[in-house]
């Protein structure tokens, strides 16, 4: 399945990287977060467990807030709010 990035509502975006392995999910997540505005939310859908560790660590380092996490059958859905530290 190909990578999908789309706007789902005003200020809300979806990044689906299901089927991708490292480093693609974390790279696409970083790029998607760079593209959206401050305060916008990004829902990331992925199924590569180790990418989750990297995405969580990246958000923690940069300051983005992961405000919702769900897992079902090996598929992860995380919602991230973009925060810009000044």
């Amino acid at each position: 399945m190909a990578m999908k990035f789309e706007k789902t509502a005003n200020g809300a975006f979806l990044l689906d990287v299901t089927g991708y392995v490292c480093p693609h999910p974390q790279l696409y997540t970083k790029k998607a977060l760079e593209k959206i505005g401050e305060g916008d939310t990004l829902e990331v859908v992925f199924d590569n467990p180790s990418s989750g560790e990297s995405i969580a660590a990246m958000c923690d380092t940069v300051g983005h807030e992961i405000f919702e996490r769900s897992t079902e059958g090996g598929k992860y859905k995380w919602k991230i709010k973009k925060v810009v530290l000044v």
Binding site: G19, L27, N48, S50, T61
Partner: protein, 475 residues
């Protein structure tokens, strides 16, 4: 947390039960199988630790360069220090099975090629094994690509012989190796016998020359060879990738944001940030050290230096090298056993591949069912599968065409890098650094540079794809 289905628990039980039965059943055949079972259970522990900590050497520097995440670089440094501490004791007591490798520019070049490959594939050699245990088809393809490439690469001759300098040819000829090896026919043979074997080997202990074996092992190999460079690497990581965000967060939260103590807290916070990775590093470090100790103990118990001497006693003589040995590192290793099983298959298909140094003189191509290190790799996959099943992270994933392409290309580069460097991220970097071998950091420096180039390429590649998506969604 999602509940673990009963089916997953059952499969985890089946895997553990299978390995237990293999150990018990083979022991009833001959006590010498304990040797293989030791590899098996250490492999299982490696798999458990790797999956638990998502422990992948590839992500250590790739994620640092790509997304600024230091957790795995930290985890690997912790694991190397702990492995160093445990194995220094093993070395000081004369129980080590380790031999230093030749060092030189070839180790850096090999690491560089390997580093590019591991970024393209998405996992290092050990990472791909544990991810195979998660049902990841891309990782399985990577393992296959590494294995096939190595098995072919070590036996290439013909036109490729022209690529070896005359000095390598002459030097290889002068080594007086058995005629059956034909050391002047085969690029890898001339590379090994004509170049690599001429390079020096040494450890920090040999350089610093302490007379007390414990001082020698702990001060030279551990403190100078691992702790000091690891602390410097982590300081570099902190200053370049972590410090800025950390100080900003301190300021945002109204906490002190300058001063030496604040910096020290930031440095320590980076090290302690990923508990999972640190625990995995701890487990891997201790297990890898104990593994060495146990294998040496078994060699003493059975009065042998190598498993090749035990093979005839359990009724198998096929695939033993001219020296009477098979690949039996006595510690954690990944890539050679992968080359061997494909080499064994090729041989059975009619390819005469025992006329080279790698298979014919040193490692052999024993039946994979009797290959000690293969038992370790299979059990590593099993250990990772058990962990993935029990955490509901097991999922069969077929590779897409795009990822299959990267797996094959990257796996081939990793296979070539492994053979040029006489090991992968584990054998040529992790183990060697932890044993105070000078060549370890050389491979590591090359691997980091290769990872950097690989990330640059993937940044460009993913940016192009992202730009297309962004153009369609009216940002």
């Amino acid at each position: 947390m999602e509940e673990v289905p009963k089916k997953n628990r059952m499969w985890a039980f089946i895997i553990i039960g299978f390995f237990s039965l293999v150990s018990i059943f083979t022991f009833t055949l001959s006590e010498y199988y304990i040797y293989l079972s030791a590899y098996l259970w250490f492999g299982f522990v490696y798999g458990v630790c790797l999956q638990y900590g998502r422990f992948c050497f590839s992500s250590a520097f790739r994620d640092l360069f790509a997304v600024g995440v230091p957790r795995m670089a930290v985890g690997i440094m912790i694991a190397m220090i702990l492995f160093g501490f445990v194995s220094a004791f093993v070395t000081a007591t004369g129980m080590s099975t380790f031999h230093a490798a030749p060092y030189g520019i070839h180790a850096v070049i090999a690491g560089f090629i390997f580093g590019i490959g591991m970024v393209l594939t998405g996992g290092c050699a050990s990472g791909s094994l544990y991810k195979s245990g998660e049902g990841n088809g891309v990782a399985m393809l990577v393992i296959l690509s590494i294995s096939v490439t190595q098995a072919i690469f070590v036996d290439i001759g013909g036109w490729f012989n022209n690529l070896a300098p005359q000095s390598w040819h002459d030097s290889a000829a002068a080594k007086g190796l058995p005629l059956a090896i034909n050391a002047t026919d085969g690029w890898m043979d001339m590379y090994l016998a004509g170049y690599v074997w001429n390079q020096p080997t040494t450890t920090y202990a040999e350089v610093l020359k302490f007379t007390n074996p414990f001082l020698s092992a702990y001060i030279s190999n551990v403190l100078v060879g691992i702790v000091a460079p690891a602390a410097l690497v982590l300081l570099w990581v902190y200053l370049v990738w972590v410090r800025r965000s950390y100080l900003k967060k301190q300021a945002r939260d109204g906490k002190p944001s300058n001063g030496f103590l604040v910096e020290l807290q930031g440095y320590w916070g980076m090290i302690a940030a990923s508990k999972r990775t640190a625990i995995a590093g701890l487990g891997l470090g201790i297990a890898a050290g104990l593994h060495m100790f146990v294998m040496k103990g078994l060699q003493i118990k059975f009065g042998v230096q190598n498993f090749g001497e035990l093979m005839p006693k359990i009724g198998s003589t096929f695939g033993i090298s001219i020296k009477g040995t098979v690949f039996d590192p006595g510690y954690w290793y990944v890539t050679t056993q992968e080359a061997q099983w494909v080499g064994w298959v090729f041989n059975k298909l009619g390819w005469e591949n025992m006329d080279n140094i790698y298979f014919g003189l040193n490692n052999g191509i024993p039946n994979p069912l009797l290959n000690p290190a293969d038992w370790m790799s299979v059990a590593l996959i099993g250990g990772a599968a058990v962990m993935a099943l029990l955490h509901n992270e097991f999922k069969w994933k077929a590779p897409t065409r795009e990822l299959a392409m990267w797996a094959i290309i990257g796996g081939a580069l990793m296979g070539i890098g492994s053979r040029l460097g006489l090991g992968c991220n584990v054998g040529a970097f992790f183990v060697r650094v932890s044993q105070g071998d000078l060549s370890g950091w050389m491979f590591g420096v090359g691997m980091i540079a290769g990872a950097y180039l690989g990330v640059k390429f993937f940044n460009w590649y993913t940016e192009r794809k992202m730009a297309k998506e962004v153009a369609m969604c009216e940002l």
